[in-house]
């Protein structure tokens, strides 16, 4: 028989932004346990009205990100042991920089709207009747694109970014990272519009290279690098247009 069950104190955000507050729960500690396991335990055993979002549980869908002890994390693949403070406490809050619907669920509408505003959208140049375009996997643009494509839209970078909190127009790291991967897509026909979009008021030039996005991206992408690429590309396109 195992030793007496240990519990940990978990503070969970309840309610919306304006009227919400942290609520304490005692959650049984397990040997191997993710933050999402903790949240699910609370919802299943302590308070069925707890609102939160998840789907795949294996780090693919990007729906379960939350602030854990003040840092943005993908909760399904964040082990409690890794993030538990010295005081053995856990604080779980909704993602920063997004409106809170209820408890741990944020409204991600603006996150995805900015994705489109930054022209993070593919503009096809061929129809189904054309030959499939061959892309050399070794080509420099494809290598650049490769580095940016594994984004799961979890908004961890968006929550980590202080430029997003300071400037509501700013598209944020994920949308600009997506725009950069499309700049390197030779099949795309919308480059001029994209460079204009990422040069607008909410565009890449607002980035201060604080690199919170790269620090916290669970897939170890580097949006700062992508944004630097956009800055370079917009500057060189300026000279190209003139000549």
């Amino acid at each position: 028989m195992a030793a007496a069950q240990k519990y940990m104190q978990v503070s969970v955000w309840r309610g919306d932004e304006a009227t919400g507050a942290l609520e304490e729960f005692d959650v049984p500690a397990q040997e191997s346990q993710t933050i999402l396991d903790v949240v699910s335990w609370i919802q299943q055993n302590a308070d069925a009205t707890l609102a939160y979002r998840y789907a795949c549980r294996v780090g693919m869908c990007g729906s379960c990100a939350m602030m854990v002890n003040g840092k943005p994390r993908w909760t399904c693949r964040t082990h409690v042991k890794k993030v538990l403070g010295d005081n053995g406490r856990l604080t779980i809050e909704p993602l920063r920089n997004l409106p809170v619907i209820k408890d741990l669920a944020t409204d991600m509408t603006e996150f995805f709207d900015k994705w489109i505003a930054a022209e993070g959208v593919f503009h096809p140049t061929k129809t189904r009747y054309d030959e499939i375009e061959g892309i050399d996997p070794e080509s420099s643009v494809r290598v650049e694109a490769n580095a940016a494509i594994e984004c799961i839209n979890c908004a961890v970078c968006y929550a980590a970014c202080d430029v997003v909190s300071a400037n509501p127009d700013y598209f944020g790291p994920a949308a600009l990272n997506r725009a950069w991967s499309l700049v390197n897509d030779t099949r795309d026909g919308g480059q001029a519009a994209r460079l204009e979009a990422v040069s607008s008021n909410g565009g890449c030039h607002n980035c201060h290279s604080q690199q919170g996005c790269s620090t916290f991206c669970p897939n170890e992408l580097n949006p700062t690098l992508s944004i630097a690429g956009l800055k370079r590309e917009t500057v060189t396109s300026l000279f190209r247009r003139r000549s």
């Binding site: 430029v163 400037n167 008021n201 030039h205 607002n206 800055k231 500057v235």
Partner: protein, 110 residues
């Protein structure tokens, strides 16, 4: 806040000021050895076209660079937007440029 035009101005003035700042620091360390006096400074700079050009360029670049920097800081930290933000940008540019030009004139005019 920062569009491509302001971003370019910020980076170009930064690149221009890189060597100017290094020269300025070297000059400071050189000038202060054994105390500093108005006479010593002015004897070096007065009537010198080169110092006038050096610090004239410096003042122009720093006025643009600092005005854009102050614009970003006030918009991000105080939430200033629109006309108010433009007034602040142009205003800080004008104040720095006028005061800086006066200072350069004061120490280099013969």
């Amino acid at each position: 806040m920062l569009d491509l035009r302001l971003y370019m101005l910020q980076r170009v003035t930064a690149i221009v000021m890189g060597p100017l700042v290094i020269g300025h620091i070297i000059l400071i360390v050189y000038a202060i050895r054994g105390g500093i006096s108005a006479e010593e400074i002015l004897s070096r700079t007065q009537g010198s076209l080169w110092w006038g050009l050096y610090y004239g360029t410096f003042v122009l670049a720093v006025s643009v660079h600092a005005a854009i920097g102050l614009r970003v800081i006030t918009s991000e930290m105080l939430g200033l937007r629109g006309v108010g933000l433009s007034v602040l940008t142009w205003g800080s540019f004008a104040v720095l440029l006028v005061m800086g030009a006066r200072a350069v004139y004061a120490v280099t005019a013969a």
